[in-house]
Amino acid sequence: MHECAQSSEAAQAIAAAVAQIELAVREVQTPVEQLGLLIDQMASGLGDLRTDSHRSLIVDKLQKQVNGSITQLQFYDRLVQHLKHVQDYLSGAAGELASRSMAEDPTADVWNGLRNRLRTRLISESQRQLLDAMLPPPEGADLDSEQARSECAAQGSVELF
């Protein structure tokens, strides 16, 4: 019975990690498509530079496309961060499972600790919502309030103090 409970906890942890990986891949899809489109446009702009007389207009357009590429490329950084957190979570779970004897399986506190550490490291609301759906926090746990969620700054936002 005890072993069944532990297997179930481990299976849930793995399923939650798989869901996070799927989300990470999905979140980077649009930026990668945008980046491909921008590179295509820049290549075309470079061709125009050789033949077109309106060079300054083309250069302005190219600058905008380079800037757009810089923005989209940052999603790669987000992807790497997200996957690193999932990797740490899985390593932590594997470490706990490996270091305990059968008589001393990881307790619910250990699983919750691993889950909470992952949750605090996740970098977007969609990532946290997915984790909460896959691995609901223990009864009475303090989830982000509606107010805390609404106070989260938007991607790309700038605030001067």
Partner: protein
């Protein structure tokens, strides 16, 4: 032209921040974490602005801001945080440490440059 210290543990992010700043004519110094940035600052590296990530090994960005504010020659230097951290709690922590502003990644080069121009003017 003003000199900017860009601090991020991600080489690709340092590259993108560097390309953006250099395209506008800024001189750019780079550090791969808070500790390296602090060593540069303690080595009397004079800069007009620091742009730092938050989550980094060795020393995080909030600690870096706090440490820089304790250095007499960095007391008046603007310290801009550029991070994926979007929570109000983290932002308030940065503000309390002495950050000048908070930019959430992914940044738009135009917007970042406009913000910098405002800060270092």
């Amino acid at each position: 032209m003003p000199r900017i210290l860009a601090v991020d543990d991600s080489p690709s992010m340092r590259q993108m921040v560097g390309v953006t700043l250099k395209s506008a004519g800024y001189e750019v110094l780079e550090a791969c974490d808070g500790q390296e940035a602090l060593n540069l600052a303690k080595g009397q590296a004079a800069v007009d602005l620091v742009i730092t990530d938050v989550n980094m090994p060795n020393m995080d960005g909030i600690t870096l801001v706090r440490e820089l504010r304790a250095l007499p020659h960095y007391r008046g230097v603007p310290l801009l945080v550029l991070t994926t951290e979007a929570s109000a709690e983290k932002k308030m922590e940065g503000k309390a440490a002495g950050a000048t502003g908070w930019v959430v990644k992914p940044f738009s080069p135009d917007r970042l440059l406009a913000t910098i121009a405002r800060i270092v003017a």
